[in-house]
Amino acid sequence: MSAVFTSIPARAAPLRMLGARPWIRTRLFPDWTNGAATVLIAALLAWFLPQLLDWALFNAVFSNDNAACRAVAHDAARPGACWGVITEKYRVILFGRFPHADHWRPLLASLILVLMLVASCRPRCWRRWLAPAWIAAFAAFFLLMRGGVAGLTYVETARWGGLPLTLLLATLGIAAAFPIAVLAALGRLSPLPAVRAACIGYIELVRGVPLISVLFMASFMFPLFLPPGMTPDVLLRVLAGITLFAAAYLAEVVRGGLQAIPVGQIEAAKSLGLGYWQTQRRIALPQALRHVVPAIMNSFISTFKDTSLVTVVSLYELTGALGLALRGDTDWRPFYFEAYLFIAIIYWTGCYAMSSYSHWVERRLAVSNQTTGNAR
């Protein structure tokens, strides 16, 4: 008995994958469970989206007409949103208790910071002048907000609020945290045991506690730390707290970058006769920081979101200014939800733009690593 060769039946020709029908089949109904999920989600969207659009757009009140707002909000059959609360209060929400007539100053100050942020995101601008440019931007910000010169009326920091405060806390917090973070990261990798212990102690201590406790510390304990008779501004104290907090997280990011550098780089630098600081400044840090730009960006996003906590120690940034605008006003208080949505959209736009940017940088870095053959 010998096996008779029989060929297996020929495979069917591959299915056509172009056109609308294959697209629908592979992406919407690839199998039973996924098809069921598609149908269920489509049904839910078809039921929910029209209601949402009706509430948010078609049946909403956009003018600051309180009576119309109340009427549409209590309409059980066809409820509508009251965006009038934003038409009425947007200035207080965006600029806090800043004097009403001078609102162009916080607006301009916020614009400066936003423009600087956008500029810093472009690799073309990663040059030596970036640091002085930021210092100049912060100086311009403080001049505009504080006033007292060039005919601008003086406004004390207690009246700063809203968007400029949020932007200031996030950008200046990260900018000031950066040098501390680099030093702490270098210290954590240092061969000197005392330096290492001090840096690990600082980083782990700060990373182990919630930001709110650091803010409480800034608010209640910093005044006690300073010589009697010296009470720094609450904004300054909170900024110091946010800086110390962000620096610890940023230090771990920088350490990740430093550890990813091949040892050969450091050895080569040493054999060229460079000292410790020269090696770090000219060889290690430039490569390390380039690698961790996306992670630094994520740190910045976290800090941007975390600034909302300073409302707990009574600084009126966006979230706090919203409470300021609505808490005492019985007419508009019922429309907290719409106001929350408004600032949520502001936060979301900022964070989403930055995280998209961080993804873009990540892809760009991956490409440049492939072409230069760099080890990660």
């Binding site: 592979t26 992406r27 919407l28 109904f29 690839p30 199998d31 996924n34 098809g35 999920a37 598609t38 989600i41 489509a42 061969p191 000197l192 045991p193 005392a194 330096v195 001090a198 782990e204 201590l205 990373r207 182990g208 506690v209 919630p210 930001l211 709110i212 406790s213 409480f216 510390m217 209640f220 304990m221 005044p223 006690l224 730390f225 300073l226 010589p227 009697p228 996003i301 979101k305 975390d306 909302s308 906590l309 409302t311 707990v312 979230t319 907290y336 939800f337 929350y340 600032i343 949520a344 936060y347 979301w348 964070c351 989403y352 995280s355």
Partner: protein, 404 residues
């Protein structure tokens, strides 16, 4: 004995003791460290000196003796009984209990939601994939404090009064009510018979453990793998059921009753607790989902194909090959997120849930012991974080790939 040319005795190497010269690295290292320690000590001394001076000038008392004094405020909800006549340390304990309660509930919930969303992000259905992606992008890009405030507003403002409380759609008479006053649900009444159920459950666990050991031994001897999951679950369930039946099938339920003004009886969760748990878990779930997705994507498809071609069933391949590799990537960021959730639970102070920070804040305002209260918060959170980090390292060492 070998006779060879006598080798000259080797010279002892020149002693390489440290040379304490100005330019040597050792000297400079020591000097740098000495300088750092000195500076840190000076700063510490300066800050303590100023603090003591300030406290004396302002007449602030210091010390932890206030922990034994009467608290004088009551706490809205607690797992242990507490009244305002009890000392501060017990108030802190109640706060810690509330923090842990919200954190543990949040961790469980965020793991469930995050895993589902993470898997959904890799589904083949385009709509499902986009929906899960939208969830992640929506919730992780809005500050968690704002989300907590919105949840609290929805739970206290948009829900109906207790008289018109919402009930589950399918079982309107099951005794579950959702209203402005929170969630009420039926609770089994404790009877002596329940003790036997517990004993039965414990016996089932022991049996399942023995079954597992036996199956492992058989596998070593005969290479015949036995089913694991269902038999073990069945053993525990059957033995608990037997205990319950032996105990006389106690089935008393304490069902919430709708009264004129409020609901009474049964178990209940306050809107504050619901808001903090929901808000934290929905926010954290967006990060968990990303960790889960990264873990699944980290296992190459060839691993599944290879294990299938070795004759493992789909379930075995998943359990023995894919999951261990995916978990190794997922667990570290997951632990980080759990820690973040625990630390974020301190935001409860903004919506009035009496957690540790909230209690400490009240204590601080009442007793004026700012330094001590902040130290208590920091130490407790630090202990929680370090304990988790220690557990994490232990897991890392265990899960590390052992190379030759």
């Amino acid at each position: 004995m070998t006779t060879g040319p006598a080798t000259p005795p080797r010279q002892p190497p020149p002693s390489v003791g440290r040379r304490w010269r100005w330019r040597s690295q050792a000297t400079r290292g020591l000097l740098w460290q000495a300088a750092l320690v000195l500076v840190l000590a000076l700063i510490a001394w300066y800050l303590t000196h100023n603090t003591l001076e300030n406290m004396r000038a302002r007449g602030i008392q210091s010390g932890f003796d206030f922990l034994l004094q009467q608290a004088g405020f009551s706490i809205g909800e607690s797992i242990i009984d507490f009244n305002s006549a009890e000392p501060y340390w017990k108030a802190f304990l109640v706060g810690l209990g509330n923090t842990l309660r919200a954190s543990i509930a949040g961790i469980v919930l965020c793991t469930v939601i995050g895993t589902l969303i993470g898997i959904g992000q890799l589904a083949r259905s385009l709509l499902l994939r986009k929906l899960c992606k939208a969830y992640v992008e929506l919730f992780r890009n809005v500050p968690v404090l704002l989300q907590l405030l919105v949840w609290y507003l929805l739970l206290t403002d948009w829900l109906p009064d207790t008289t018109a409380a919402l009930r589950p759609l399918l079982f309107p008479d099951s005794g579950i009510y959702l209203s402005k006053n929170g969630l009420s649900y039926p609770l089994p009444v404790w009877e002596a018979g329940h003790l036997l159920t517990l004993i039965g459950c414990f016996a089932g666990l022991v049996l399942a453990w023995r079954y597992r050991r036996r199956a492992a031994r058989d596998f070593e001897q005969s290479a015949q793998a036995r089913a694991m999951f269902w038999p073990m679950l069945g053993l525990v369930a059957a033995s608990s059921l037997a205990g319950w039946m032996l105990g006389g099938m106690p089935s008393g339920l304490d069902i919430p009753q709708t009264g004129d003004m409020n609901l009474s009886g049964g178990g209940s969760l306050t809107p504050e607790f619901l808001a903090i748990t929901l808000g934290l878990s929905i926010y954290t779930a967006s990060f968990v989902a990303e960790a889960v997705r990264a873990g699944i994507q980290a296992v190459p498809h060839g691993q599944l194909e290879a294990s299938r071609s070795l004759g493992l069933s789909r379930e075995q391949a998943l359990r023995l090959v894919l999951l261990p590799q995916a978990l190794r990537v997922t667990i570290p960021p997951l632990t980080n997120q759990y820690l973040n959730l625990t630390k974020n639970s301190s935001l409860a102070v903004a919506i009035g849930y009496p957690d540790l920070v909230s209690v400490a804040n009240t204590t601080l305002n009442q007793s004026g012991r700012a330094v001590e209260c902040i130290v208590v918060i920091m130490v407790i959170y630090l202990v929680l974080s370090l304990a988790t980090a220690w557990l994490m390292n232990w897991y890392d060492r265990r899960a590390a790939i052992r190379e030759r």
